[in-house]
Amino acid sequence: MTRLAITINGRALPPTEVRDDLSMNDFLREVLGMTGTKFGCGAAQCLSCAIIVDNPDGSSYTSPTCVVPAASFDGKAIRTVEGHAKNGELSALQKAFIAHFAFQCGYCTAGFLNEAQVLLERLAKTPVARAQLEQSIADALDGHICRCTGYIKYHEAVRDVILADPKRYLA
């Protein structure tokens, strides 16, 4: 058993005892009822289960939750899809996904949102040249499987959010 202290979407959860073999995915979905993070394969292949982990140094990365124990998130700060909108206002990415009809069944969408959000934040710190943009997006999103859309509209939505604010994201 591990005493898990974790911050989710800016809120520190009261420390909870978790079994060492409880997956992070089950912790979110079964224990907390936060089902915005999905379960697709349980083998880190599809990343429907991916969430954002925020490092103390300000950097962030996405992590699957299906193949890692909840205990390994002790002391960490994470963001899930439920935390993207602030006070009912959708994020730029959320709006773009809607406007571009980027998803169909929507089951992979949380993972894509998290990944794209981390990409935006990374580009804001380390912009890329316009000519590299599409490849940067493709590299970032390639770990995510979508069975409905063929990916194109997801990529276009992310690209358009970046192109709408080139000073921030592009070199």
Binding site: L22, S23, G42, S63, P64, V67, P69, D139, G143
Partner: protein, 205 residues
């Protein structure tokens, strides 16, 4: 027997055992054990004995548990069938993955059984110069003895690396769905030690 053939037999034996045909668990075969250094005593020529000991060690070095992370290219392999790693991941600048897909994101400090996810604090790819995939025992022997290609090690250092390093040690306790390397890490270490003590000889080919 050529290394490749033995490698293939090892791989196919393991694959057969684990294909879940009728759900039988992986069984021990002679291929999955390691002979002790003593069993080579009958070879009087020291150099030949040394090379023979290394060939026995080759059963470990050419096992998927080792070759999967000593790939020829920039992408690891996985499973007893040594298929290309899925999801697609790449070596990156430091062998620990690309900027967005670090090995440690999925591969934690220890194997997580419920996720069938292998783990170790140092999970990463061996450098390109230490690639063994597709090489013969003789070629691996030459490579592993060469400080330019083995991370600047003396052959004596290999006794610790193979016999005691915990990342290498994972190969003998890989978790569900993966066959362990032959023998035990201790036995492998003993073979390395015996090989070194007999002059660390390599076969010509």
């Amino acid at each position: 027997m050529r290394t490749e053939t033995r490698f293939k037999i090892l791989v196919s034996a393991a694959a057969l055992a684990l294909s879940g045909l009728t759900g039988y668990a992986a069984s021990q075969t002679p291929e999955h054990t390691l002979a002790s250094p003593d069993s080579f005593a009958s070879i009087s020529d020291t150099e030949a004995r040394s090379a023979a000991i290394f060939t026995e060690l080759g059963k470990v070095l050419t096992h998927p548990r080792c070759t999967n992370c000593h790939p020829a290219g920039d992408r690891p392999r996985q499973t007893d069938a040594s298929r290309l790693h899925q999801p697609p991941v790449t070596r990156g600048a430091d062998g620990h993955g690309s900027e967005t897909m670090r090995c440690s994101i999925c591969h934690g400090n220890a194997t997580f059984e419920p996720g069938r996810m292998p783990g170790h604090p140092e999970w990463h790819l061996a450098p390109r110069e230490m690639a063994w995939e597709g090489k013969t025992i003789a070629e691996i022997c030459a490579q592993i003895s060469d400080p330019a290609r083995n991370g600047g090690r003396k052959v004596e250092d290999l006794i610790h690396h193979i016999g005691e390093d915990t990342l290498v040690g994972w190969a003998w306790h890989p978790g569900f769905g993966r066959s362990p390397a032959p023998g035990t890490q201790k036995e492998a270490g003993a073979l390395v030690e015996a090989w070194v003590k007999t002059g660390a000889a390599c076969r010509a080919k």
